[in-house]
Structures are given as structure tokens and as C-alpha cells.
Symmetry: C2
Subunit: 240 residues, 2 copies
DNA sequence: TAGTGGTCTAGACCACCAT
DNA sequence: TGGTGGTCTAGACCACTAG
């Protein structure tokens, strides 16, 4: 009998996944509460949470901090090697996107940032910070540093919907020269708060340096994605 | 007094990170045991493990299953858009690489694989499975399916050190046309065993389809990396 | 305000690794 | 074989969310 052996975290994960497979939950729906699961399966809440975390790491479910566990909708397909218009990208995948500016100001490059961008410390940069997501679900934290010296008048332009569109149309930047760095990481407390996630939540971090025709850096970019929300998909071809 | 409040997982993580910053550990070295930490800080082992998991998710430390916690050496820098010779790639980064073949055989494509590769179900494919790592530390699980029909005699060749070198030299494949898919995932029990990780360990999964000049798929590839071991780094340029 | 998730305690047992 | 990590129990309290 299974009831003689302790219920394991794996058992919990399996039970929940069966429920999902049976259609008891639809994408985006909230799962049963932790206490309810533990009582139903006759196990402790610690074990239930371990089981939930297994599915979370897989990306099957996700957490909204202190709000509960939800069935993950389809991942966003994203090609970071091309400059995509975020709103169009998501709309094209059947979800309702949103983008909200958190901060926009001119700053002076500190030492680490200057080193990363290959500019002199203190050089003025236009900084822009945004949260982006689908429906009411925040998915991605986006920070951009633009080199004002190479982009005259950039601070006066409206960057709201799309930085890349402005750079393309007004400054002839085609994003054809980039350096991308991608790694798994975790959310700081500030990032977690913005993305409605617990501190330390797993994320994918994308760092981008965009160069102009002369090879000078014009834009530096950091995207922090909730790990379950993203599927990077890139087409590499000779003409690219 | 801090001793009046409970010691938190964050406190544990901070204490360990301070020890690391002070040079009490060197990259690759084993950390203090969990029980030792819990006694030293006056907290429970559960809290200690939560603290360790915070640093693990960040990639600062990693686990060797049932062996202990270790300080993570530098990440491997890897550009998946170029066909790299794994052994050279790692050697160039100052580590001693190894590659071990787990399995090599001719199989017939099942339905999902056939769909993914765009071939007929049942088509014969050469399958190759390898573990790869640095020093004695397994980092990556690599599975390759090669389309024998387009690569005559491939099954008789020695693919041991490098599949890409064989395809390049003998079949004129230059890996210039690829589709890459990258996402966060977790290790199955078999994968975990090979990578000396616990079941459900966070990983980065890279799926690759390589096409020849005519646009036909010649190779399908899956790489499963321990999440803390990898830093994807890509240069995108017009001539690429 | 009730119920939830987030966290911590203080144990326990087992399988496994290293010696 | 001793000590380790992996796991589970059975509580508890708090901050917060949702109604």
C-alpha cells in the first residue's frame, strides 16, 4: 500500500501534473491551496511545497508571490538576435501585452557600467527601465542605457512603445551588430517585487551590447525574464 | 541583538558569501557541512539548506548529489551559434575538458523526433550521446541525431572527439544555417545521475537543428547544461 | 477578517559517500 | 562505518492578499 510509505514530493508533483493533464486546471488558473493539497494527500505542507517547486523549476507552474501557484501559460517565443517590437511580438503570439515605464532619466556612467560599455566613466547616458508582460502577468524587467553622445536629441524623444523603433527610424541603427550574453540567475528583492515573484526566484538574464556601423557601442541592455515565461528561439543563417 | 530574532535563510547565504569573499573557499572547493553551518549559526538545517539553495540558484555554489556543496568555478563561455570544438573551447578557457561517449547506435526516428526534424517516421538516424565536463566535473549532456541518408557512411566514421569537425571536413557542412531553441528546464532522474546532480536540478536546455545548403535538416542536437556552468555568449554581425 | 503563502523549529530516518 | 546530504513530520508564527 502506498499509504504505508511516506508521500514524497515527487508523488505530490505527479498528482498535480495528472490533475493538469486531466484538464482540472487551465493555463493561468490558480492551483489548489497548499494546505488543501497536504490534507488531500495526507502529507506535510513542506513536502507539498517541495513538490510544487519541482514543477516550478520545470516551468509547468509558477508563483505569484504570496498569491499562490498558477498553471503556466505558453512560453513567449523570443529571438534576442533580432530587434523585436515587444508589443507586436507578444500580440503575434495571441496574448495581450503591456509595457510600463518604471524610470527614465539621464545618468552618468559609473565605473562598472562604463567598463561594460567601453565608454569613459561619467559619460551621460539615457537610462530607461520598464516592466513588460502579458495580460496582468509581469514577465520581464528591461533596463536600457543609451549613449546620448552618439544619439543626439534622444532624451527628448518618446521611447515609450519601442526604443528599437526610434533608433531604427531616427538614427539608422539596424541592430545588426550585437553581443549577447545569456545566463541563469536569480531575482534581487527589488526585481522580485516588480515581477511579483519571491526573492531569489530563478530567471534568465540577457545582456546586450548594440554597436553602430563604426563598431561603437550605442546601446546597452539588460532583460530579466521569469524563467518559466521564456523560450529563446533563434534562426541563424548566412544572410543574417 | 540578532540572536533574539530567528536566523533566516538570507542570513545563512550572506554568511557563506562573506566567507567566500574572504577567500575561505577557492573555486571548486567543498563547503562546510550543513550540520556544521547550522550549529555555527544556531539555526536549523532546513534554514541552512534554504540559504544554500539561494546561492545555488544564483550559481555561486553548486551541488554534487549527496557529496556536498562546492564553490562554483568560472562559467564556460559558449557561443551556440557557431560550431565549436568542445575540447578546444574548454581548453582555451583554462580548464581540462573531458568527453565521454555514453551511447552510439543507429535508430529509427519515432514520431516526435521525426516531426521535430521534419523527416519521415522510421527513417534511420545515427544517435550519439555524450557527457562533457571540466576536470572531474560533468557539466553537459549532449545528444546528437544525424541523418544517415544525407551523410553517407557517417555511421562508420569516428565521431569521438568532434561531430562538427567530421561534418565540416567530410560532408562540407558549415553550420551556417541553424535553428536554436534555449530554455530553462530541469534534469530527469537519468540526466541527473549522469551529471551528478539531484533530480529536478535546474538546467539550461539547448535544442539545435542544423540545415544544409538546400535547407534540409542534417543534424538535430540537444545539450543539457547544469545551469551554473554556462554563460551563453554570442556575437551577431552582418557578415556572420 | 479569514485564509494564504513564506518561513522557521526541532526533531527523525534513510541511502549513500568517503574513509 | 561514521558522517553526510536528501527527505519527511508536525507543528508554529507572521505578513500579506483577497474578499
Amino acid at each position: 500500500m502506498a499509504s504505508l510509505n511516506p508521500v514524497t514530493a515527487f508523488d505530490v508533483a505527479q498528482d498535480l501534473q495528472q490533475g493538469i493533464a486531466r484538464g482540472l486546471s487551465v493555463p493561468g488558473a490558480r492551483l489548489e491551496s497548499e494546505r488543501s493539497i497536504s490534507q488531500r494527500l495526507g502529507t506535510s505542507r513542506v513536502t507539498v511545497r517541495e513538490g510544487l517547486k519541482l514543477l516550478e523549476a520545470e516551468g509547468v507552474i509558477y508563483r505569484s508571490n504570496r498569491r499562490g501557484w498558477y498553471l503556466t501559460p505558453a512560453r513567449i517565443l523570443y529571438d534576442p538576435s533580432r530587434s523585436a517590437f515587444f508589443m507586436d511580438l507578444l500580440a503575434g503570439q495571441g496574448v495581450t501585452p503591456f509595457s510600463r515605464v518604471l524610470d527614465q532619466q539621464t545618468i552618468n556612467a559609473d565605473a562598472p557600467l562604463a567598463a561594460q560599455m567601453g565608454v569613459s566613466p561619467g559619460e551621460p547616458l539615457l537610462f530607461l527601465s520598464r516592466v513588460r508582460g502579458a495580460e496582468d502577468r509581469p514577465l520581464c524587467l528591461d533596463q536600457v542605457w543609451l549613449r546620448s553622445a552618439l544619439l543626439p536629441g534622444i532624451a527628448e524623444r518618446n521611447l515609450e512603445p519601442s526604443v528599437s523603433a526610434v533608433l531604427r527610424e531616427h538614427y539608422g541603427q539596424d541592430y545588426s551588430r550585437q553581443t549577447l550574453n545569456i545566463r541563469a540567475s536569480t531575482l534581487t528583492s527589488a526585481q522580485a517585487e516588480t515581477l511579483l515573484a519571491p526573492v531569489g526566484y530563478s530567471c534568465i538574464r540577457i545582456d546586450r551590447l548594440v554597436r553602430d556601423g563604426a563598431g561603437q557601442v550605442v546601446e546597452c541592455d539588460t532583460e530579466i525574464w521569469r524563467h518559466e515565461a521564456l523560450q529563446l528561439s533563434m534562426d541563424i543563417s548566412p544572410g543574417h
